[in-house]
Point group: C2
Chain length 587, copies 2
């Protein structure tokens, strides 16, 4: 096995052509074995097997700098840079993250998980090299899916402006996570592929690039020749390389969206081991509700930025037709387009993961909120129970979203509330509204929620007690319930239990009323503590005769954490909080 | 006077060619008279006099939708849409804002002050039109300076993708606020101008646009003919129109950067009435310090996104040469490039207005902070004393920046602290650091600041007292001093006075120690209250025997406010706070 001899990229240099080809076969096989057992990013890595081997054969990492966009396509790179065991030995599968990570290797320059950053990062790395009067290659690898992001364009401009060595590799596999939108940059890439790089209006040449096209982007020898040709260039070059997403695994080549990421799956049949099943979830009820709205009202339009499966599968996308827009990986466009849609009388609903919502602070504020346009933003996986890689955390949303004026941010705790809030958000025209889609198993109250949500900041007191009032926000309402039950059962304390529902403002009347027969207010939130919901309560009550305890997550990039451990470390267990309450009440 | 007859754009329709030409002369004259007396955006509006008259002659606003980017070039539009008096009558100069504003007129679709948003907004407006099966023109006007922003590119892609009527006007005056960077999109525009739109690699055609070039963009008849040609187009068109910034006022045509905005100035000599003078300010000492650093250390590099005058005048830019990078209006690029620079051993210093910093939340978090790279961010005008148009507010920074992990955000209160913090920030390699550049007259302590800022979150107790502790953050430290003086002089109370210096964390040791001989902690911050600094203190002290009062600004888009009035409305006067303290202390 050739791969066994590769401890670092230096070990590739002496390989024969035959050995290099054998190496590509081996790493593809290793990749498929691991991902089929463990899950991960399939298609993106299968498509860059040859490219990665060629890069490490031609360039000299870490002297030459390789910078990966999104970096979920760095598995082969990891295999070739001293981390082989994390792919060949199932006991070590979790030794590496799914993204580049400088803590793992000097060959990884950045921790990256969001798209469209590699070119701007490379522009800085190259500029630092030039200031230090060093000379080596700076190579940025970006996929066509990531090219739709505005930051990628800013980076393209910056590199073109700089005039020194930078090698931009556009890995064009004709696909984002889902199929790319038609038009704009995708028209430009399509024309270039169709013409084998010779189209009249070349987008990259227009920006000043020395442009190279390679049709056979999974051909190792061609890749090596191309990289050798541009290595040590004294000016920016752009290599447009056409690859096949999922290359070498037929099911992944055919069903490219399903095989973007996921698993485990069968190597023989290409079937995923555990299909999502038909059980209702917060996700499925949201989709069903929006589908109904779309059928009833031609002005309802669902928006998404490059992750359409969050809302609709391909079949559903065909059904909703023009009432769904996938803008590509361009979250800012989604937010500002929603503003324009609402201004002109449509009812936009933008579905977005919390971790990517943070790319649009200015669009949420200066566009949607300043103009007070009634768009609906569905915030997914804003929770410690969401994605747990440090590059994809979703629990910073309250500090950055909840303090934007005019925005109404809602935290439902069950199915009925969620759908009532969603209906209200879509139909009202007074405010931009965001909804923190609950995370976890679907809960049903069984009672229709008839709340009028236009009465802003009205909290629901679900249990009237005394001494201690528990504010359980959204996903943590159930924790508040558990604490209330413990206090009652174990200590005879009848706590007041509150479902705040509104994140963007306080129920001051309720808070004022607590002073008469309560000593303590406890606020629980499924997010970071600082700048969060509970701190508003603590501030408001700062002058009153009430003590306040806030519970949330410490402001840290927690990485691949165990959720229960993280919660315990942050004191977020019923047992601990009951104890803290007893202490505060001097019991 | 023709202008006198124009109550709305409908009144243009019956004008003869001669009258239209006379109108352009009149509005230019009116514009110059007002701006020379009152100040405002000179060059941008002078350049679009003919274009605006032609737009309103050919299109039918408000049925046809005109959407202005940045919208500081909307003065002529305002004159022609019922707001003439705000330009012709000096008593009414302040009746209108400097930007489009739906509260003023149905001809203004959006409140806009940040760049690069018009295309995305237009894509939404046009999509809503199509969903409603209406038909009219949607026209988006964007300057070449705004084209460098990633959102503009995302909007270009979206419009090209949509396939229905949208008319994009690129107003190319060969200049951003300052000269545009070379390369990238500016290479593309330059080639198009040089070839009169016929260059081989046409950036806009590559994206799929039906492209038109007009060389004489200040020629009224040509503009009318072009607009008539594309009106009611059934597909997206892009009009690349070459105009002269400052057209018709020689000093503004020559000195385009100085005449981007400002005034009053002399119409005869083109000289500004009040030159900035040579008095030292926080701005000038920052620039001097960075100039010195640059001379001493070739790895120090200053960054800016389209507002280079914030840091360096044109002469200074020539002096610092390659150690200054203006990335164009592309704040995200500045932040992520800084990350790359720091990773590769350079010392980046990014100067940015607070209102524009909010465009980079994800770059500050996912790029700079997650990678923990030691870039320095200088945050200008983060204060109620900064820009006071609702589209340019700078006092939302603490909620969105201070709660990002790893970041150190500092609030200096005088010259010596500011320079000591700046020096530390540049030379250390442990954290990304932002500094809230003080606003207001330069204050000097006269004592060198020898603080070791690597001791994070160590507050400075400047006066040790009892009963009440005053935390005066940054610009509001002087207010805390004033309160302390009043408490002492008028009520015999010796307050503890604290200069927190650190925004991103609390001095827990100090806070813990206050419980022994204090009853009240008061926190003052020059920013919005919610999600701010004081709320962290309130939360931390929520369980202790200390009351807390937080003072800051209410979470509202305050518009063209009087600063002292705004402060008074928010209780931020020494008299009020002293009274509140006395009440809390039961005195």
């Amino acid at each position: 096995m050739v791969l066994e001899k590769i401890q670092s990229p230096a070990d590739l240099k002496g390989l024969s052509a035959a050995e290099l080809h054998q190496l590509t076969d081996e790493v593809r096989s290793v990749l498929l074995t691991k991902v089929s057992q463990h899950g991960g990013h399939n298609g993106p890595n299968l498509g860059v097997v040859e490219m990665t081997v060629a890069l490490h054969y031609v360039f000299n990492s870490p002297t030459d700098k390789l910078i990966f966009d999104v970096s979920h396509q760095s598995y082969i790179h990891k295999m070739l840079t001293g981390r082989r065991q994390a792919f060949t030995d199932s006991q070590h599968y979790d030794d590496v993250s799914g993204y580049t990570n400088p803590k793992e290797s000097e060959h990884d320059l950045f921790t990256v998980g969001h798209t469209s950053t590699s070119l701007s990062l490379a522009s800085g790395v190259a500029k630092a090299r030039d200031l230090k009067k060093d000379s080596y290659n700076v190579v940025a690898l970006i996929g066509d899916g990531s090219l739709s992001g505005g930051l990628a364009y800013e980076g393209l401009n910056a590199i073109a402006t700089a005039k020194r060595n930078t090698i931009v590799i556009v890995n064009d596999n004709e696909q984002s996570i889902a199929p790319n939108p038609k038009g704009g940059i995708y028209t430009a890439l399509h024309s270039l592929r169709q013409s084998k790089g010779k189209t009249q209006d070349n987008f990259f040449k227009a920006l000043g690039y020395d442009y190279y096209y390679l049709e056979e982007g999974n051909d190792l020898d061609s890749l090596i020749a191309l990289f050798q040709e541009v290595k040590d260039s004294d000016h920016p070059v752009l290599l447009h390389i056409h690859t096949v997403k999922g290359k070498g695994f037929r099911p992944a080549e055919i069903n490219r969206e399903a095989f973007h990421a996921g698993g485990p799956f069968s190597l023989e049949t290409g079937e995923y081991s555990s299909s999502a099943g038909s059980r209702a979830s917060y996700s499925s009820i949201t989709t069903d509700f929006i589908m109904d709205k779309i059928k009833q009202d031609p002005t309802v339009v669902a928006l998404n930025a490059g992750t359409p499966m969050l809302l609709f599968n391909p079949e559903q996308r065909r059904t909703v037709g023009e009432q769904f827009v996938d803008v590509g990986i361009a979250e800012e466009q989604a937010a500002t387009m929603a503003t324009g849609l609402a201004q002109n009388g449509a009812k936009p609903i933008w579905a977005v993961y919390s971790t990517f919502l943070q790319r649009t602070y200015d669009q949420l504020s200066h566009d949607m909120a300043l103009n007070n346009q009634a768009g609906t933003v569905l915030v997914y996986l804003a929770s410690v129970y969401g994605m747990n890689d440090e590059s994809h955390l979703g629990f910073f949303d309250i500090p950055f979203l909840a303090h934007i004026p005019n925005f109404v941010y809602l935290a439902p705790t069950n199915k009925e509330e969620h759908l009532a809030m969603l209906d209200w958000a879509i139909e009202q025209t007074d405010h931009p509204v965001a909804i923190r889609v609950p995370v976890g198993p679907l809960k049903e109250s069984g009672e229709p929620d008839t709340t009028d949500y236009s009465h802003l900041n009205k909290n629901q007191v679900t249990q009237k007690g005394s001494q201690v009032a528990l504010f359980g926000l959204g996903n943590f309402y159930s924790l508040a319930e558990e604490i209330a039950e413990k206090l009652a059962a174990e200590h005879g304390i009848a706590a007041t239990l509150v479902n705040p529902k509104f994140i963007t403002g306080l129920d001051k009347e309720l808070l004022d009323s607590l002073e008469t027969d309560h000593k303590l207010v406890v606020a629980l939130e499924d997010g970071i503590l600082e700048g969060g919901y509970g701190q508003m309560i603590a501030s408001y009550l700062g002058s009153k005769n009430l003590k306040v305890q806030n519970y949330g997550i410490a402001k840290v990039y927690h990485d691949r954490y165990d959720t229960e451990e993280l919660l315990a470390e942050n004191g977020l267990t019923a047992v601990n909080i009951v104890q803290q309450i007893l202490t505060a009440l001097n019991i």
